[in-house]
Structures are given as structure tokens and as C-alpha cells.
């Protein structure tokens, strides 16, 4: 799979999109925090194992990067692959302004 395909496949899932929403609202979350906000704020009852797999897909697509701080692993939203989409199909040029 090429990079663009990986990004679009990663985005083609509501749970993964909600994970990106949550990370863009508060960047740098542990798996525990992501699981607790997904279930309490979004009513998503996925198992921790399933969320972990979703994060793996997002990480493989470059949309999430992880960093070990102390002994815990934190997940960060990386918008760069989305910026590449916007560069390829710019959104501004047909706007009224």
C-alpha cells in the first residue's frame, strides 16, 4: 500500500476519526486516557485491545506518533499526512475571497 492509500484507509473508520478529534483537542494522551474519553464522551465501547489496534493503524499511516515520557507512552496527532492532501488538492483557490 502506498502512503496515500494508508492514510485514507486509516481515516475510513469512525472510531479512528474520533481518536484524532480527541488528540487534536488534547494532544499527548495515554492509551488509558483515550479509552476512558472514548467510552464516556462518545459512548464507544471498544475494548482496550481494539483501541490499541486502531492506534496502530493511525501510527502506521503517520497520523499518530508516540513518545515515551518517563515510563508511560503518549500518543500525539500528526497532521502532516493531511497537509499533503491539502497541498495536492488545495482548498483555497475557489473560495469567494
Amino acid at each position: 500500500m502506498n502512503a496515500v492509500t494508508t492514510v485514507f484507509r486509516a481515516l475510513d473508520d469512525e472510531t479512528r476519526r474520533v481518536i484524532l478529534d480527541e488528540l487534536s483537542a488534547r494532544d499527548g494522551q495515554t492509551l488509558f486516557e483515550i479509552c476512558s474519553t472514548l467510552s464516556t464522551r462518545h459512548g464507544l465501547s471498544s475494548t482496550r485491545q481494539a483501541i490499541s489496534q486502531h492506534l496502530g493503524v493511525l501510527e502506521a499511516a503517520g497520523l499518530v506518533v508516540t513518545e515515551k515520557r518517563g515510563r508511560s507512552k503518549f500518543h500525539y496527532f500528526n497532521p502532516e499526512p493531511l497537509a499533503e492532501i491539502a497541498r495536492r488538492w488545495p482548498v483555497g483557490e475557489r473560495s469567494p475571497e
Binding site: 495515554t30 492509551l31 488509558f32 486516557e33 476512558s36 464516556t40 518517563g70 515510563r71 508511560s72
Partner: protein, 131 residues
Amino acid sequence: MRINLVSVFVDDQRAALAFYTDILGFTKKHDIPLGDASWLTVVSPEAPDGAELLLEPAGHPAVKPYRDALVEDGIPLVQFAVDDVEAEHARLTALGVVFTQPPTDVGTVMMAVLDDTCGNLVQIVSPKSAG
């Protein structure tokens, strides 16, 4: 049946006693020498006859992989109730305590997760203030 004691494994009992009393604000209940360790418990000053927390030596070989895996994923091992998570987060941060999760609104309660410096993550919760 009542819950009268729960335990957390700690890397160093004396360092743990200092953290759980001086920083978190619990009081020492029992400190009984037992071989090369102690039967060391703390209680909340708000409930001196309530449940005790045993600060248990982490020497067993199974403890490290178990705790490492939980801490990596940010999973707390024990939970304490506070009046106001935001205020407690501010107080503890000023004392140098590291949080792996800042105060988070999870619907019915506010919660946060801190590192107890002895190998565990601790969750604190408070009811959400009205309004």
C-alpha cells in the same frame, strides 16, 4: 464483608511512606518490622479507622513486568477520592508531582492520573461540581 486493606507494590518502602504521607497527605497507621521489610500501612486522616493502604515491597519477579505494562499504557492501580481534582492537581503539581493525565471530565466525575514515584500510577477522582 468490608474492604479493610488494599495494597500497592512499591520500589522502596521508606520513599513510598514519604510520598504517601508528605505529598499525598495520608497518615502512617502500622509500621511493623517483618524480616527485611515492614508491614507498612497508611490511612486517610479523614478516615483513620477506614481502609488501610499497604505499601508492599515490589521484590517478587512478577511485579516488574506487570507494572511496567500497566504504566506504559497509563493504567492506574489504585484510586483515591478528593474534593476537587483541579485543586489537587494544582497543589500536587506545585510539589513536583508528575501527572500522566491532567484533570479530565469523564461525565459523572473529574479524574486525573499521577505517578506515585514508587512504580505506580494513581487515579484521583472528585464529583463534578454543580454548574
